[in-house]
Symmetry: C2
Subunit: 170 residues, 2 copies
């Protein structure tokens, strides 16, 4: 069983030269989707997380079912202006320009054990910003799990402070 | 057990006069989140869906775990430009202006039984657009489930062609 058989690769999306990994073909296969979530859960469970954190929007597709399966809370990390209560933000550099992520200031209790889940580890920029955001609100990031890792982009280097795993590498 | 005890109400978000229902307080409570998903699953299971469909982004937080728990596929409905393969779109009116939703043209097989899941039924505009999108790709919407329903906005009237349920009403 190879998750790669269920991930569609699309050339030149969102721009020329990028070979996009399309997870929707995996999501629509109920059996494979369940296996993917169960595999993430198996790997994350020994970390005994109190909360799963996932960035908008594709992170919700993996983080939310993992939280549900583990019976722990899920905390969404969102783009600016989406969260209704008091937020804390973290701005980070993109290839061109910058972006900001936000989390509710009261989303996590100090000392809670956090595992971050996302569909894809690419450059690690979003993940590092998410980890920094967690630090700001006093939470302890004990690991990160991804469905896909694009190894050539060296995301792990940026995330050296954290245990990281992925289910498939490209 | 009342889900309302775990939903935070925030005044004047995203604009004055709106009393926003904040689901993040429910999501971060692992036990309550699990109960909410299990309750949705119990109600949806008798419809024997082949696929759960959920609109970006909060629809992912409920639709994805429901699909996982049922062992069926999940199909995301997204804003324009987010889906990498060939899409079909549906444009619908907002209070000011309009919006468009997209789904992959090959996301669903003709005749598949679809249940749409979202966090909130308000005016029903997004849901009607989602149902129309499903019709366009030949799928059969057999029902819709929501965590929250704002009854004063009469969303059900727009969705009269479909069985609709919600777990809490305001």
């Amino acid at each position: 069983m190879d998750f790669r058989d269920h991930i569609r690769v699309i050339s030149d999306f969102p721009k020329e030269g990028i070979s996009y990994k399309d997870i929707t073909t995996l999501l629509k296969n109920g059996e494979m989707y369940q296996v993917a979530i169960n595999t993430l859960v198996e790997k994350i469970k020994p970390w005994r997380p109190d909360v799963i954190v996932g960035p908008e929007a594709r992170g919700f597709l993996f983080g939310a079912p993992v939280a549900y399966a583990l019976g722990v809370g899920f905390v969404p990390v969102r783009k600016p202006g989406k969260l209704p209560a008091k937020t804390i933000g973290e701005t980070y550099d993109l290839e061109y320009g910058f972006d900001t992520l936000e989390v509710h200031a009261d989303a996590i209790q100090a000392g809670e054990r956090i595992v971050v889940v996302d569909d894809l580890l690419a450059t690690g920029g979003t993940m590092l910003a998410t980890a920094n955001l967690m630090k700001k609100i006093g939470a302890d990031v004990i690991g990160m799990g991804f469905l896909i890792e694009l190894t050539v982009l060296n995301g792990r280097e940026k995330l050296m402070d954290y245990p990281v795993f992925s289910l498939v590498e490209y």
